[in-house]
Amino acid sequence: MSQDNKKVTPQTTGHVWDDDLEELDNPLPRWWIWGFYITFAFAIVYWLFYPAWPVGSTYTKGVAGLNNVTYVATKVDGSQETKTTHWNMRSKLMVEMNQLKAEQKQYFDKVASKSFEEVAKDPELMQFVNSAGKTLFATNCAPCHQAGGQGKVKFSPNLTDDHWQYGGAYENIQTTIIAGRNGMMPSFKAILNDEELTQVSNYVLSLSGEPHNADAAKLGDAIFHGDKAGCYACHGVDAKGNPAIGSANLTDKIWLWPDVLGAKTPEAKLTEVKTLIYDGMNKGVMPLWSTRLQPEQIKLLTVYVHDSLGGGK
C-alpha cells in the first residue's frame, strides 16, 4: 500500500477492540474535499438562476432578469402576446413549441391558404405533407386503419382503395376527421324470420356475384325492396349505398363488416351476411379529432389520406 511506503503514522479514532484492533481516522484526500466545497459554490449559483427555496406559500424564483424565458403565448381569443417569466419547464416548452411552429410555419401557411387541389399539385409542399402526414397518421390513425391505411375487415375501412363509405372527396374526408363517424346498422332479428333472413342474404350475395341460391335471392329481392325490412331506405333501391349516411354499397366486392371474401364456402358466406343482418352492427365508430389536432393539421392529413395513401376520388 502507498501509505506503507510513505511511512505515515496513521491517526486513529481511539477505539480499540480485542487488544489491538484500531479504527483508522485518516484525513480525506484533498481533491475530494475541494470537490465537496465546489458543490456548495455550485448550489449558491444555482439558487440565483433557478427556482429553489420554498418560502411560506411561495418560493424563490432566482434573481429577477438573470435567467428569464421569453416566449409568444396564444390567448383563448387567438391573439398573441410576448411574455417573459422566470425559468421554468412549462415556459421552456412554450419556447420549444414556438420554434417548432416557426420552422413549420411556411409550410402550414401554404397548406392553410391553398385549396386541397393546389396543395396536391405542389410537389414541394407534398414532400412536407408526406412526411408530416406519415407521422400524424402513425400516431392517430394507424391503431385502427393499420400502418399503411389498409384497414381491417370487421373493424375499420381500407383507405387505399377507391371505395369511400362516407364519400372520398377532400371535403368528405375532412368532415370525417373533424367530427368522427358513428356507423351502425339496426338488428333485424325482431323483423325478419330465419327463412326471410336467408332469402335476403342470398339476394345481397347475388348483387356482387357471390355464390347464392337464385330462387331464394328472388324472394330476397322482394324483402329488400319491401317496406317490412326496408333495406332500400338506407342502401338505396340500386343497393349502391349512400355516402351521406355511410350505408354500404352492396354491389361491389368490398366487404367491411361481414367477411364474405374471407369465408371459403358458400354456406360460410351466407352465414356471415345473415349474422350481420340478424345482429345489426353498432361498431362503426370513428372518434372525432377536432379536439386533438389543429385545423391545419387536419387539412394536411386530409390531403395525405386522399393523395398519398392513394384512394381519393
Binding site: 420554498p54 396564444t74 383563448v76 416548452l93 420549444e96 417548432l100 394507424a142 361498431k283 386533438r292
Partner: protein, 244 residues
C-alpha cells in the same frame, strides 16, 4: 453526544438514522403542501364515478401501471405525441396517483376519446390484432368476467377517507352539486352507487355487448375518461405556466 454513545444505544441510533435519511424527502415534499401554486386552478376536474372507480381498480389489479405512465411531461416530443402536459390538478382525486417515469407502452394520461370502445375491447383481448408491433400481453378474461360491484360503496368510502368528496348526507350532496354540477354530483353519491354504476354501463355500452356487464365495461369507462376532464381550449396556451 459522543459517537460512542450513539453506537452503543440502538434506540438513539434508529431515531437519528431516520432523521438523517428523511431530511431530503422532508425538504423536498413538505413545502409543496404549503405552496399555493402546487395544484393548478382549473375547471372540470371531478372525482370518478362508481363504474370508473371499478375500472381504475381493475387497471391497478392487472398492473397496467407497470408499463403505462399517466404523466405527460412538458417536452416537445411528448406534447406532439400525447397532447397537453399533465396537470397536478388532474390527478388530485387519484389515490394512488398513476404518474411514472418508466414506459414500456405509451403514456395513457390523455387516451380518453382517442379510440372507440370497440377498439379498446378488441385491443385488451388481443392487442396484436390491431397493433401488430405491440408487446402488450392479452387480457382475454376481462371481456368474459362479470363485473363484481357488490363492494362499490366500501370502495367509495375508502376514497372518501382519503379526502375525495363522495357524499353520504344530503348536505354533502348539495355541496357537490354546487361544486361539480348536478350530473357529476349524482355519480358521487355513495347511497346510489350501484344504481349509478349500472346506469352508466348501460348508457355507455363500453364493451360493445349491451347484454352483459363485464370488467371491460368498467376498465374502458375509466380509460375513456382519462385526460378529458379539462377543456384546454378555455385557457391561454401559457396559462398553466404561471403555476410554476
Amino acid at each position: 453526544m459522543k459517537h460512542d454513545n450513539i453506537e452503543r444505544n440502538v434506540g438513539i441510533l434508529i431515531i437519528l438514522t431516520m432523521l438523517a435519511i428523511s431530511a431530503g424527502g422532508l425538504v423536498e415534499i413538505v413545502p409543496l403542501f404549503f405552496i399555493k401554486e402546487t395544484v393548478e386552478k382549473v375547471e372540470g376536474v371531478h372525482p370518478y364515478s362508481p363504474l370508473e372507480i371499478r375500472g381504475r381498480d381493475i387497471y391497478i389489479r392487472e398492473g397496467c401501471y407497470l408499463c403505462h405512465s399517466q404523466m405527460i411531461r412538458p417536452f416537445r416530443d411528448e406534447a406532439l405525441r400525447y397532447g397537453h402536459y399533465s396537470l397536478a390538478a388532474e390527478s388530485k382525486y387519484d389515490h394512488p396517483f398513476q404518474w411514472g417515469s418508466k414506459r414500456t407502452g405509451p403514456d395513457l394520461a390523455r387516451v380518453g376519446g382517442k379510440y372507440s370502445n370497440d377498439w379498446h375491447t378488441q385491443h385488451l383481448t388481443a392487442p396484436r390484432s390491431l397493433v401488430p408491433q405491440s408487446v402488450m400481453p392479452n387480457y382475454p378474461w376481462l371481456v368474459k368476467t362479470d363485473l363484481d360491484y357488490s363492494d362499490i360503496q366500501g370502495r367509495m368510502k375508502a376514497l372518501r377517507a382519503t379526502g375525495v368528496p363522495y357524499s353520504i348526507s344530503q348536505a354533502e350532496f348539495d355541496k357537490n352539486v354546487k361544486e361539480f354540477g348536478a350530473d357529476v354530483a349524482k355519480n358521487l353519491h355513495i347511497p346510489d352507487a350501484e344504481k349509478n354504476l349500472l346506469a352508466q354501463a348501460q348508457a355507455g355500452n363500453y364493451d360493445t355487448n349491451p347484454d352483459k356487464l363485464t370488467e371491460t365495461d368498467a376498465l374502458v369507462a375509466y380509460l375513456q375518461l382519462l385526460g378529458t376532464m379539462v377543456d384546454f381550449k378555455k385557457y391561454d396556451d401559457d396559462y398553466f405556466g404561471k403555476f410554476r
